[in-house]
């Protein structure tokens, strides 16, 4: 089967999944302006941006020859649960009758449908091989996420601008070629060394700025839609950590309940201080992570949400209150197809300035410092 899938975050992971199941994989292109335009053109106007982006991705994947699209459903009152049906509906009205859309809903909602889908996807690969390869994939995700976290810690302090991103791209290429678990561990060590050999400047603990990124999963994970916010922040000298990594998401959602890490339950508990019940999407987790980041000593939070996202609007309503009570600056950025990069950049830069000044404690002095720096710079230019 010529299989494709939505692009989100480290898409090589999904590619690996279907390779392990011996499918012919059509790699969806990384979302671009064209993807967005295509998606916006054919999606309902008031659908959220993830639905539109995924729509565009599907159309591009179909152009490349995909015949089967695999996606997740979801359960609970967020709209994501109907992306699949809406997409199917749109594809049908565009005349793509030969494209099959396989939607994985939460198994507990409908076990039969779930196993029918699994059988389709399994592609006749014997079960023992499936289990073995899925375990490899599990570790694959874990190692890749570990490296990404390192990237986020190294980027702010790199001496040669852009080097970390370059290395990160190389790492992804290397991971793309991995076939076995043994190879995985070897490549992992190699990549780790590559990252550690990036020259960095030393920064004292008091000058480190840490920002946590929280919000809806798609806009948090997919850099092409959030303007590469991690890179922007990294380049401004800020350490970044996301609330969501694929490995943790798998642990929280796909691993059986008993084996789940305690951390997830703790985050939910923290979130329920402000949102009493689970309301779908990632709203409670978002609040939980804001509090968790604060407790771990972070300096600020960037909250990303698709415009008119149902659950995140509840979070957004609470943000002024949380920010005040927990005492942490929060920048809430709704994202839709109209957001301009310059506007976003300005806001992020202003936010980082605020965090830096706050860290130094005395705003007035910093202000004077900056002026002196400016004056000196101007003199240099004049000479």
């Amino acid at each position: 089967m010529k299989v494709s899938f939505p692009y989100m975050g480290s898409a090589i992971v999904y590619k690996k999944l279907f390779e392990f199941l011996e499918h012919e994989v059509i790699m969806p292109p990384k979302p671009t302006q064209r993807t967005m335009d295509l998606g916006v053109k054919y999606s309902p106007e008031f659908a959220c941006i993830p639905l539109k982006m995924v729509m565009g991705t599907y159309l591009e994947a179909i152009e490349k020859g995909a015949k089967v699209l695999v996606t997740s459903g979801g359960h609970g009152p967020c709209r994501a649960g109907f992306y699949g049906d809406t997409h199917r509906n749109i594809l049908k009205s565009l005349g793509y009758d030969d494209v099959e859309l396989i939607i994985f809903d939460a198994p507990q909602d409908n076990w039969k449908a779930f196993f029918r889908n699994v059988q389709k996807i399994r592609n006749g690969v014997p079960w023992h091989k499936v289990i073995n390869r899925m375990y490899t994939l599990y570790r694959f995700v874990q190692k890749l996420d570990e490296l990404e976290k390192m990237v986020q810690k190294i980027r702010p302090y790199e001496v040669n601008k852009g080097q970390t991103t370059q290395v990160w791209n190389q790492i992804q290429e290397k991971f793309d070629k991995i076939k076995t678990r043994k190879e995985l561990y070897r490549v992992y060590e190699e990549c780790k060394q590559m990252l550690l050999s990036i020259p960095t400047r030393k920064v004292e603990e008091k000058d480190i700025i840490r920002v946590g990124i929280v919000g809806e999963i798609y806009v948090v994970m997919e850099s092409s839609i959030n303007f590469g916010i991690e890179e922007i922040l990294g380049n401004l000298g800020v350490e970044v950590e996301r609330s969501l990594y694929l490995f943790e998401w798998i642990n929280d959602n796909l691993v059986p309940w008993i084996l789940r890490p305690k951390r997830f339950k703790e985050i939910i508990k923290k979130g329920q201080r402000y949102i009493k019940i689970l309301i779908g999407g990632h709203a409670v987790e978002t609040v939980g992570h804001i509090i968790d980041f604060k407790e771990r000593g972070f300096d600020g939070i960037v909250h990303l949400m698709p415009f008119a996202c149902l659950p995140e609007l509840v979070t957004q309503s609470l943000i002024p209150k949380i920010s005040k009570e927990v005492d942490i600056p929060i920048l809430s950025l709704p994202i839709d197809e109209q957001t301009g990069k310059a506007n976003m950049l300005t806001r992020i830069e202003a936010f980082v300035d605020l965090l830096k000044n706050r860290k130094k404690g005395e705003t007035k002095e910093v202000f004077i410092d900056n002026i002196q720096e400016h004056v000196q710079e101007e003199r240099v230019v004049m000479v």
Binding site: F46, G76, Y274, G280, L310, P311, V314, Q316, L318
Partner: protein, 333 residues
């Protein structure tokens, strides 16, 4: 003790139940009244800018209610039917209010409505928190609820017989009940199904009284409350899965029902700007109307108050339906 029930959101559907219940318990019930420009402004100012108009208006009603009474009733709607839910904003409603209206602290009564299968939300269990807050006995709550349940059943019955939600509410307030059924207007030459949530369609500030405007143009109206829910759900059987949202399912189910109804000439979907569930429901309705070959239009409304566009669009739609119908009639003749 005075309790204010905000005249917004599911007020239009559940007011008789809550009104009777609180009165039986000895509360003085204050209705915050129809939305006014002032309420709208207050709400828009307090709420997050991207949130939908109904929630902004609700926020305004809560602020108004806090001025008028000791407590405000802000129920947390989770679900009334398994496996469906309400829109996430309804599920987080008291949290939103707490976050945006500072003076609401400690003055909000918010029972959690989380029932697996009790459509008229009359389970006394939901309201047991009142026992702790005000010292009622469980028996008192149960008895009050039993009374309220009866009233609500009669109210729903009126709607199924063809009264729209707001007219049935008038009947309830006037204590007239069945006599009003005679007022059901059936002499228009075309019939339009107006689909949308009660808080969009009947809030005169949001929908600008679309129903009255249509009736003035000589149109018969059908709405989703006029169909028993079993019928609405029957129409959804061919879907892979139901929508998550209870009222969206009913709107969609009613839409499918009216598409098959030969009396209905066209469908108007009333929806609020940025309404999440409606982005999906609207798309489905549009698709199904295309398949069924019935005219369909969307009226999107927000907190702005210009009426011109609305009138133009309604008139154009009605004209189109009339022309279509007469063309067909003259063909037959």
């Amino acid at each position: 003790m005075k309790i204010a029930i905000p005249h917004s959101l599911l007020y239009y559907y559940y007011f008789p139940l809550w009104d009777t219940f609180f009165k039986e318990l000895g509360f003085e019930v204050v209705d915050t009244g129809p939305t006014t420009k002032d309420i709208l402004d207050k709400g828009s100012k307090a709420a997050v800018s991207d949130i939908c108009a109904p929630i902004k208006i609700f926020t305004g009603h809560v602020i108004e209610g806090l001025n008028m009474a000791d407590y405000v009733f802000v129920p947390r709607f989770a679900r009334i039917k398994k496996p469906e839910y309400f829109c996430p904003k309804f599920m987080g409603l008291p949290d939103i209010i707490e976050g945006t209206v500072e003076e609401s602290k400690g003055r909000v009564i918010s029972p959690i409505i989380n029932e697996k299968n009790n459509e008229n939300i009359s389970s006394p269990k939901i309201y047991e928190m009142l026992a702790e807050m005000f010292g009622f006995s469980h028996r008192e709550i149960r008895l009050a609820m039993r009374k309220a349940e009866e009233v609500f059943k009669r109210f729903k019955n009126l709607m199924h017989k063809g009264l729209s939600c707001d007219k049935a509410l008038d009947s309830y307030r006037g204590g007239r009940w069945e006599e009003d059924l005679k007022k059901v207007k059936k002499d228009g030459d075309i019939t339009i199904a107006v689909l949308g949530y009660v808080y969009d369609v009947y809030d005169s500030f949001i929908s600008m009284d679309v129903i009255k405007k249509l009736e003035a143009l000589g149109v018969n109206i059908k709405t989703f409350e006029m169909i028993p829910q079993e019928v609405a759900y029957d129409n959804l059987k061919h879907y892979r899965k139901r929508l998550f949202w209870t009222f969206s399912n009913r709107v969609l189910g009613a839409g499918l029902h009216y598409l098959k109804d030969p009396e209905v000439d066209g469908i108007i979907h009333v929806t609020a700007f940025g309404c999440g569930p409606d982005a999906i429901v609207g798309r489905f309705l549009q698709y199904e109307s295309d398949v069924a070959g019935k005219p369909f239009t969307t009226l999107r409304v927000d907190e702005h108050t210009g009426e011109g566009h609305m009138v133009t669009r309604i008139e154009a739609f009605v004209d189109m339906l009339r022309r279509k119908k007469w063309a067909r009639v003259s063909e037959v003749l």
